[in-house]
């Protein structure tokens, strides 16, 4: 145990940078980074216990620090690690471009283990110990909200790259809160507008029983009302349930045109898979508000055959969107031909927006940068975007994809782009509805 007793050291900054080098996995240099990790391991344990970790006077030209809490371990680790790759890419780009008057950017990645408590502690660490200038990251409604609760109190900018409706609402929102990702209302609405006219109006929802799931349903029903869709049932299943068979006979009996799977990640994989086994697809079209690239890869072609869903980004859109092509190529170059996933792309955009705002504001001061972000109009990877004034929600296009089961070119060729809904404020909930004045 003795090695665990922290020994004093004059330079606490070190330990983190070691850690970060590791925490940003570089697909193309795995072997070396592993070795580096081992050294870091030795160093880190000794250094991590630095006394007087706080109140370090930071010299001019010190690096701009961006804290990046994300669930490197746990159910969404695949997505999270793709987020990190893409974020690293944005940082590298910026630094290669000379940084911000000589100041380079440093990305401090922390594992929030998909646990809101851990996320809050890690955010406190990033702010209090590492003195980060900004926070970007998170990959779940709960963790992003707890990160936001911490940053809001301390007036630190947080650009969330994970979905949630709550974070837009005045109750949680702060002038330092930005939301790069889509929110359930936008995604669900877009998918509804695409699917209801096409596949029918009798709808059953199989919903993960938590805010995110409920928000999805709300989004669908709103859009559905306009289109004359009727809800046969909204069946709520426990979050993270492994088996959905018990919910399926009832759905079978209801004979809906559309079954909307208002759940995420592994819940989606499981429910889609089991619905397929029950032969539901013979009479019903399966629809998912958020169809993740990674879920589809993990779930396999059969389970997702013919499933239609929404996403913030699919690499395949590069055929029609030049920005996407450019982004994919950068990513492929950096990571040995790999393509960015939807959430990965958000990691890139989230960091890049903040850095652009720093340049525009000519400062790293929270208020100045927040102001600059508010004015920002950008096209990083998927077409034009901007943050709505009242709630800092990024107004952006939404991609509707359909899962392929045959004729795939390679393992990444999993979707066909069915349609792209252009960015429009009218698809967001109104500012007044969210409790914002103006």
């Amino acid at each position: 145990m003795s090695t665990l007793i922290p020994a004093p050291t004059p330079n606490p900054e070190h330990s983190t940078s070691h850690a970060d080098q590791h925490a940003a996995p570089q697909a193309n240099m795995q072997a070396t980074s592993r070795r580096r990790l081992l050294q870091a391991g030795a160093a880190g344990t000794v250094l991590a216990g630095a006394p007087f970790a706080i109140n370090i006077v930071r010299a001019q030209g010190a690096p701009i620090k961006i804290g990046f809490p994300t669930p490197l371990t746990g159910a969404f680790s695949a997505e999270a690690q793709d987020q990190v790759r893409a974020a690293e890419l944005a940082v590298k780009e910026f630094n290669d471009g000379g940084g911000f008057n000589g100041r380079k950017v440093e990305l401090l990645v922390r594992d929030d283990k998909l646990n809101p408590g851990e996320a809050a502690s890690r955010t406190l660490e990033l702010i209090e110990k590492d003195k980060v200038d900004f926070i970007v990251g998170s990959l779940s409604a709960a963790t992003q909200l707890s990160i936001n609760a911490v940053t809001r109190e301390r007036k630190v900018i947080f650009n969330s790259i994970s979905q949630s409706d709550a974070i837009n609402e005045a109750k949680d929102w702060s002038p330092y809160t930005f939301h790069e990702a889509l929110n359930p209302h936008m995604t669900a609405g877009a998918v509804a507008r695409y699917a209801f006219p096409k596949y029918g109006k009798k709808v059953v929802y199989l919903t993960a029983d938590y805010a995110y799931g409920h928000e999805m349903v709300r989004g669908f029903e709103r859009a559905g009302k306009a289109l004359g869709a009727t809800t046969l049932a909204d069946i709520r299943h426990p979050l993270g349930a492994a088996d959905y068979s018990a919910f399926l006979p009832r759905i079978q009996a209801l004979k809906p045109d559309i079954l909307v799977l208002c759940n995420f990640g592994r819940d989606l994989v499981n429910s889609a898979k089991q619905a397929t086994d029950f032969g539901l697809k013979e009479s019903t079209r399966l629809v998912a508000p958020v169809l993740l690239f990674t879920s589809r890869v993990a779930g396999g072609a059969d389970a997702f055959e013919g499933v239609v869903g929404g996403t913030s980004y699919y690499w395949g859109m590069e055929d029609s969107i030049p920005a996407a092509k450019a982004f994919n190529d950068k990513f492929r170059r950096a990571y040995g031909g790999a393509v960015p996933s939807d959430y990965g792309a958000l990691g890139y955009a989230g960091v890049r927006s903040v850095l652009q705002a720093v340049v525009n504001a000519k400062s790293t001061d929270s208020d100045k940068v927040a102001d600059a972000l508010g004015r920002l109009e950008y096209n990083w990877y998927k077409g034009n975007q901007f943050y709505r004034k009242c709630d800092h929600q990024s107004v952006q296009s939404i991609i509707i994809v359909e899962s392929k089961s045959k004729g795939m070119k390679d393992k990444n060729d999993v979707f066909s782009v069915a349609s792209i809904e252009a960015p429009s404020e009218s698809n967001l909930r109104s500012c007044s509805e969210l409790g914002h004045k103006g």
Binding site: T73, G74, A75, S77, A78, Q81, D209, L232, A233, I235, R236, H237, P238, G240, A241, A242, D243, S245, A246, F247, L248, P249, R250, Q252, A253, L254, R266, V269, N270, K273, Q274, D277, F278, G279, T294, V297, A298, G299, G300, D302, A303
Partner: protein, 294 residues
Amino acid sequence: MVELTPQLLGLQLVTGVALGAIYALLAVGLSLIFGMLTVVNFAHGAFFMVGAFLGIYFQTLTGSFALSLVITPLVVGSVGMLAERFLVRPLYGRGIDYPLLLTFGLSYVLIELMRVLFGIEGLPSSTPAMLRGSVDLGIGRFPLYRLVLIGATAAVVLGLWLMIEKTRFGLIIRAGSRDPEIVRVLGVDVARVWLLVFGLGTAIAGLSGVLAAPTRAVNPEMGITVLAESFVVTVVGGMGSLMGAVVAGLLVGVVFSMTSLLAPEFAELSIFVLMALVLLVRPQGLFGKAGLMG
């Protein structure tokens, strides 16, 4: 709300039984180990998970689901025996807490091991071609594979029952689960028996992993929720009672299935409520021996 036709209830029942089948298998393994070794195996869910991964691995390797059904339990069982020999054995006679907590630590290691070997996203798993699709039971369509699942479980339980009733090893187990002292008196090499029992228990966990794989997402964390559920089953049935494990497995499956139909949100809660009620009325579980672990 759809009206509750006999067909729907019937189908819901079958679904519950199919669910219960997996619970029962897991609980049988847990109960076997507990009954003999009074070890509460917190790594059981992990062994289940390992079974699912290896099942797919051997299936792709040999190209045959049937083969992996045979190989995987053997491999998982051997891992189990290694664990018993080198990790659990030193803890016998140190009370119930220590083995329990050790296996908890072991489960962490196994989960991480699978992450390293097969990646964090998990593996895509699909039903073997010949068992795909759904059949019309007359009360509605039901996945063929889940029927097979029920059959397979029945077969395993039957086989186990025969072994316990008809073989000498079974005799020792029966005696042992009543009173471990007896086994020693019978002049049996207890250490060897316990090793085999632990192996058998974990092998069954592995087998249920292979069987469950086609019905759900296979990922390193898949064992965690399953563990809690199979504990509920084991405790409801009565720790150490194989009969109890099977009955409670089906009971829990059906209760879960029925609440899913009538009050979906409370499906998961329902099984914990069931456990609380059973234990408060019958502290030793449905088939458990009173005073055990008292």
